[in-house]
């Protein structure tokens, strides 16, 4: 119990520190929302009217910064996220986030789960037949691919599967804009088709990590006495691999997985940017370019909270799985 309380306290402290940074760092950036709006409207409109309009939308640059900070903390906690003052001027931030969130969860979330499951499976097989064909081919390849930069892989895939093949796979956006969102096969097919290349990019660059850790865990576990015991009992190879070795080797990977789920929500900014995929990562990029403080704040807050929640879930799981964590703290 003491352990959980301590973790909870740490959670709150980290959350406060992150929220504070999220407030101040964007305001240290060069430029202001007004300048950004002036450039977007090409100085055609009166600067005073634009300033008035931004004020009406809740931008108060002349208010005391600590009063602003206090209001900001309150708004973040109560969910009054305000209204965008950047490129999407006038749109409520919650609406913007709700539009982008499903796309990021769908693309990055599903891909992370697939990468984890597939990577772990390959890792188990590679570790089981250590030095076998699978083990000598796949891990070295994935060591290389996991070291490749996202955006480079993305551009390469676009070049090969979209440009050279004359648009065989769409390289941009989340679905064909001539379709209306609906539960029709045409629409779902379009969504899936548009997700292929970005998903492949994330998969290629992230699966290597899971394969390697799983394989190494597997090798360590295979040297354990209980595995030898299982073999001595004459159990089938499959049974020993899955329920004796694989199951135990899986545990450390699971905590890594919980963490990576926390990072799902922040999306893969570069992947979304390269593929013009309108998820949270793309939104973050756009809000930084447009000096859109309200959107930036909310996104940073969500990213922080998602990671912290993933970690605390991890902590609770540890406390549940390992009695020592409860006593030693």
């Amino acid at each position: 119990m003491r352990y959980l309380l301590r973790r909870g306290g740490f959670f709150l402290l980290t959350l406060w520190a992150a929220l504070t940074l999220n407030f101040f760092i964007p305001r240290f950036m060069p430029g202001s929302p007004l300048d950004a709006l002036r450039i977007r409207t090409k100085d055609k409109l009166s600067t005073e009217a634009l300033a008035q309009m931004l004020t009406a939308f809740g931008f108060k640059p002349n208010e005391n910064i600590f009063v602003q900070y206090w209001d900001y903390l309150g708004h973040m906690l109560t969910g009054q996220w305000g209204i965008s003052i950047g490129g999407t001027l006038g749109q409520p931030v919650s609406e913007i986030v709700m539009h982008a969130l499903p796309w990021t969860l769908g693309l990055v979330g599903v891909t992370t789960v697939i990468a984890f499951l597939l990577g772990s499976l390959i890792g188990v097989l590679a570790g089981w037949r250590r030095g076998g064909k699978l083990d000598s081919v796949l891990p070295p390849i994935f060591v290389i691919t996991s070291a490749l930069p996202y955006f480079w892989v993305g551009l390469l895939l676009i070049l090969v599967f979209s440009v050279w093949t004359n648009g065989w796979l769409p390289s941009d956006f989340n679905y064909d804009t001539s379709l209306q969102p609906s539960f029709s096969w045409e629409f779902i097919g379009s969504v899936l088709q548009h997700a292929v290349l970005p998903a492949a990019t994330i998969l290629i660059t992230s699966i290597g990590g899971w394969i390697l850790t799983m394989r190494n865990n597997m090798i360590t576990t295979l040297a354990e006495d209980y595995v030898r015991m299982g073999r001595a009992k004459g159990l089938s190879g499959w049974r020993v691999m899955t329920t004796y070795a694989g199951r135990n080797a899986f545990l450390p990977n699971l905590s890594g997985f919980a963490m990576s789920l926390g990072f799902v929500i922040s999306g893969s900014i570069l992947v979304e940017y390269v593929f013009n995929y309108p998820g949270l990562g793309y939104l973050l990029y756009n809000s930084v370019v447009g000096t859109d403080y309200p959107v930036m704040q909310v996104l940073f807050m969500l990213f922080t909270v998602a990671v912290l929640f993933a970690l605390i879930a991890c902590d609770v799981a540890i406390a549940w799985l390992d009695p020592r964590a409860r006593t030693e703290g």
Binding site: D43, S46, A56, F173, D176
Partner: protein, 614 residues
């Protein structure tokens, strides 16, 4: 990877688990800057993905659109009671039907808001749904087309104007449109300064807006002819019965207006984050119009896919720069065309403040203006897609009648003259052996500007100027430009229906500010009381007088070289004639053609028709 790990005892697995968890907790305070996790982004790269493929789907070009038939007796266009009504060549009527798709990159998905006072969304509502009183054509010497006002009369002193409001117009919800709506719109801008986007009440001296019968009178503090473009052409009239109730009445400036009710030719139905579909307003006040029955406006996040859709004909109305347009677009189909009329200048802004010793010297600026080969910059830097500018700052051929070719030639600015430039620079104390070091600020990612500045750098090197190009992030560039923190700045301003608007922005001293303070448009900090006087006398002058005044201001541009115009920025416009005809062309420039011009989009939409529906 054959190297095995030391065999561990069983409990160690848990230790790893804990270590990972603790490390992650410790790292998590550092926000999302990505410690350890394989899915954490670490930085945002600068360059966009240029290469892109097309989503290959069924073509939604006009040919497949439903034909609604000719159910209405096609009447004459507009009404005859206009002031200087200019009927463009398309007096013929067409049958209704067809669909047009616009490719105008917004860089974000749609917010589905259509408030005409919100500058982030009004491009998608004014012209489509909302209309102005009078349309003023920048490209045809301010030719006027009466819209919601059938005619108008200025008072003798040009201080007040009476609009005759068009009869028989209905809002798209069936309510009648009246003079009260017009007066309401202008008075709304007084009550909510955020909606007064053109500073009519605060800057232009608007004193009152009153409706009486079918007329609306606007009264100003001084002669107001120069504001006509803004209050008659740019301001969109909104319905009083919508904007005076509920949320719209409380906050007309921030109201979302998701289902806009206007007098315009189109209505929104439906809007999603990825696409806005407009359908024709069946009760539009110009009988038989619009001919086109549907408009698709997809959200494009990047130029690449938009340009690809244009090249394949999936989109027919393009509004952004296409690199090497001949090979990429024009050669793809005989139906693909491009016409990009010049509207304003891209110029080098020298810092005229005395704290910048070199650039505040006239001889240095004259030397630069003479050394730079503008047509070479236009050809290499802009790929020939923008014409070269001239030192008088009058955009050609758009504003031909204000141009004084003799004066430009007499001052020696008609063609590059490196010998004279070297001489001038020597008089200021610099030479190739004792070069002048200057830096110029530009925006990262504006690759055409980078190419242009590379040519300028080459032009300036032989006469003794070492130019350093500073590529800055947009925000940094803006604040340095506004506050005057530069030697030279490369910048493109915006124009208006006559050169007066652009030159006033650039040269009028009230648009300037001391170094360190944010200037509104006079970034070079030019201060010449005589030129200010010319600007002040312009509104009260008659037409011939106005031309004379602009010629005098052009002469000041030549004499003082306050800025150095390099190329003329254009309205990017590409169009496909496979099914859609009636586009604005060089021969019939009835409106500014790019889809980002309000309210010109409305004029284009009223002219377009589908060939397959005829």
């Amino acid at each position: 990877m054959r190297k095995g790990l030391d065999p561990m005892k069983r409990g160690n697995g848990i230790a790893i688990l804990m270590a990972v968890g603790l490390c992650a907790t410790a790292c998590s305070g550092a926000d999302n800057t990505g410690a350890g996790s394989s899915s954490a982004p670490s930085a945002v790269a600068g360059s966009t993905a240029g290469a892109a493929g097309a989503p290959t789907s069924a073509s939604n070009g006009g040919s497949t659109a439903a034909d609604t038939g000719s159910n209405s007796a096609a009447g004459p266009t507009g009404s005859g009671s206009g002031t200087t009504a200019t009927s463009s060549a398309t007096a013929a009527t067409h049958k209704q039907g067809g669909e047009v798709t616009i490719a105008n990159v917004a860089g974000q998905t749609w917010s589905c808001q259509f408030n005409p006072f919100n500058p982030s969304v009004y491009q998608q509502s004014i012209g489509f749904v909302y209309e102005p009183l009078v349309y003023v054509n920048l490209l045809k010497d301010q030719a006027e087309t009466p819209m919601l006002a059938s005619s108008y009369t200025w008072s003798k002193d040009k201080k007040s104007i009476v609009f005759d409001i068009r009869q028989g117009v209905k809002w798209s919800d069936g309510q009648p449109f009246t003079a009260k709506d017009v007066a309401f719109t202008f008075n709304l801008m007084k009550r909510f300064p955020g909606t007064d986007l053109y500073s009519l009440w605060s800057g232009a001296g608007l004193q009152s807006a009153e409706a009486a019968g079918d007329q609306v009178t606007l009264t100003f503090a001084g002669p107001a002819t120069t504001y006509f473009f803004n209050f008659a052409n740019q301001v969109a009239i909104v319905p009083e019965h919508i904007f005076s109730t509920g949320a719209a009445a409380e906050h007309p400036d921030t109201w979302a207006d998701p289902q806009p009710v206007g007098t315009g030719p189109f209505m929104v139905s439906p809007c999603s984050a990825n696409n806005i579909q407009y359908v024709a307003n069946p009760n539009y006040w110009q009988p038989g119009k619009p001919y086109i029955q549907k408009v698709q406006y997809p959200a494009y996040l990047d130029n690449g896919p938009a340009n690809l859709d244009l090249a394949t004909g999936k989109a027919q109305w393009g509004s952004q720069f296409i690199p090497s347009i001949k090979a990429f677009y024009l050669a793809k189909s005989p139906d693909n065309h491009s016409w990009s009329p010049p509207v304003s200048n891209v110029a080098l802004y020298p810092n005229l403040d005395p704290s910048h010793a070199a650039t505040s010297k006239l001889a240095v600026r004259q030397a630069m203006a003479m050394a730079i080969d503008r047509s070479q910059v236009a050809l290499i830097g802009e790929g020939g897609q923008q014409p070269a500018a001239n030192q008088s700052g009058i955009v050609l051929p758009t504003f031909e009648k204000y141009y004084d070719a003799g004066a430009v030639a007499a001052a020696g600015f008609d063609k590059p003259n490196p010998a004279k430039a070297t001489e001038l620079l020597a008089s200021a104390g610099y030479s190739p052996s004792n070069p002048l070091n200057l830096s110029v600020i530009t925006v990262t990612g504006y690759t055409d500007w980078d190419a242009s500045l590379a040519v300028i750098k080459q032009n300036l090197a032989p006469i003794g100027i070492n130019l350093t190009v500073e590529d800055l992030a947009q925000q940094t560039y803006n604040s340095r430009l506004y506050t005057g923190d530069f030697d030279l700045a490369y910048y493109g301003d915006v124009g208006g229906p006559t050169p007066f608007y652009e030159l006033r922005q650039v040269l009028y001293s009230k648009n300037s500010a001391p170094i360190g303070k944010s200037a509104s448009t006079n970034f070079e900090r030019y201060l010449n009381p005589e030129v200010d006087k010319l600007f002040d006398s312009f509104p009260a002058a008659d037409e011939a007088g106005q031309v004379e005044i602009i010629k005098k201001i052009g002469a000041a541009m030549i004499k003082d070289v306050p800025v150095i115009p390099i190329t003329e920025s254009v309205d990017w416009f590409q169009y496909n004639t496979k099914d859609i005809e009636g586009w604005p062309t060089e021969q019939d420039p009835y409106a500014q053609p790019a889809a980002y011009n309000v309210p010109d989009t409305g004029q284009v939409l009223l002219h377009l028709y589908s060939k397959s529906a005829q």
